[in-house]
Symmetry: C2
Amino acid sequence: MVKVAYLGPRGTFTEQAAISYFNKNVELIPCHDLPEVFMAVSTGFSEFGVVPVENSIEGSVNIALDLLLESELKISGEVELRIEHNLIAREPIDLSKIEAVASHPQALAQCRNFLRRNLPKAELIEVGSTAAAVKAIGENNYIAAIGTELAAKIYGMKVIAKNIEDNPNNFTRFLVLGHMDASPTGKDKTSIIFSVVHAPGSLYEALGVFARRRINLTKIESRPTRKKPWEYIFYCDFEGHRAERLIQEALEELKEKTILLKILGSYQRARL
Amino acid sequence: MVKVAYLGPRGTFTEQAAISYFNKNVELIPCHDLPEVFMAVSTGFSEFGVVPVENSIEGSVNIALDLLLESELKISGEVELRIEHNLIAREPIDLSKIEAVASHPQALAQCRNFLRRNLPKAELIEVGSTAAAVKAIGENNYIAAIGTELAAKIYGMKVIAKNIEDNPNNFTRFLVLGHMDASPTGKDKTSIIFSVVHAPGSLYEALGVFARRRINLTKIESRPTRKKPWEYIFYCDFEGHRAERLIQEALEELKEKTILLKILGSYQRARL
């Protein structure tokens, strides 16, 4: 069976993303952190890896960006999930009886209005992940956790309130890592990393390669490379597959205008 | 005395940034979260606010970017701090005797090599902030925390190992919020937010405004606006002060090429 490493522990959003991409016909292997996921795929221990790369509220997962720069793996797919938070407890319970709510600080923050309205007196306990919070309920009937439906199922708990997040527009994008690009589908995206000399106009020159060909950029993000203070790295996604002639020509021209160009892969676009 | 609101609790890196910027001649007011800092300044409760906006490893603090978009406050300064982690305990203790180390998950991750080499058997406990970890040591002699020197001082603890971070190139950038731009110094930066129609080449056109004037961009970051799926927002910093004629002209031309242009302020550049 195909093995897929992902950012654990069991019951995380990343596990949900892996299940939604691979349809359960794979063996899912939870990893402790992102370097472990990359390592699992690089060494051939697993065929694929799934990692979060970007959240619409919290921004990029920069350790994922750093690992993409260092690794030789390819992006072979992407998944977008809407982040839905649930209030979870051992047994159905009147909300006013809940004494404490545990979760990751981001999850607590993202459900602030719900908590203020419905559990104004509950103590908020910050823990390392939403999955750890669900696990931590243990035998206690008066502690609730904010976490995924999947975590409730895994740890034998009950969802007592669904979709308690304040902002319904909270999405996370996950990458599927592998050893090859995906085949063209006509609805593809290509991800690259490039850097230009630190001089006025150098980014403008590089973007001209895409603008002149009417290639649509879907993302551009800069990061300073602290090791080389006069250089910047850009993470860039655009529409099209590098098997297409237009994209090939753009990448060839871009190579001449950049001091670093790394092609992370072409893969089918995920759009909810 | 001038009041400065900042992201608390007491003993955070943001408090260190506020102290380094204002030289202690102000009354520092810890806030519970970033919206509270913005609110304190907007309502006039405090004259200034200090918030983290970007870390060289973890990336942008997106809630800060969102608040900048919504708020009418100006950026009137910036601070850069190198992130130094310390091992903190009640009393000097042989490292091999430490049974557990508490900190924010990011701090634990950023000291992973140190912990593996020196405290391979210690249990790692994830809590909500480095300051909370230092506070949590309490009366226990065998628990250590990873936190700031300032937190050790505030909570009456001892630094037992300094600079235990694995990567010395870990910087956080903080913004000083106020009601006005700072005066020009000749070493200034201007921050803006703009958005362009979602069409190939529209970002390229906007950047041309800077490229043709040889204005140096120091940062550009895109964020999708989930409310308007065909539009993107760019956060952009560049060298120069908007009191300068060259910058004024650029901003006027940019206004014609964008569908949103918000000037966050001009302020003196921080460079370590």
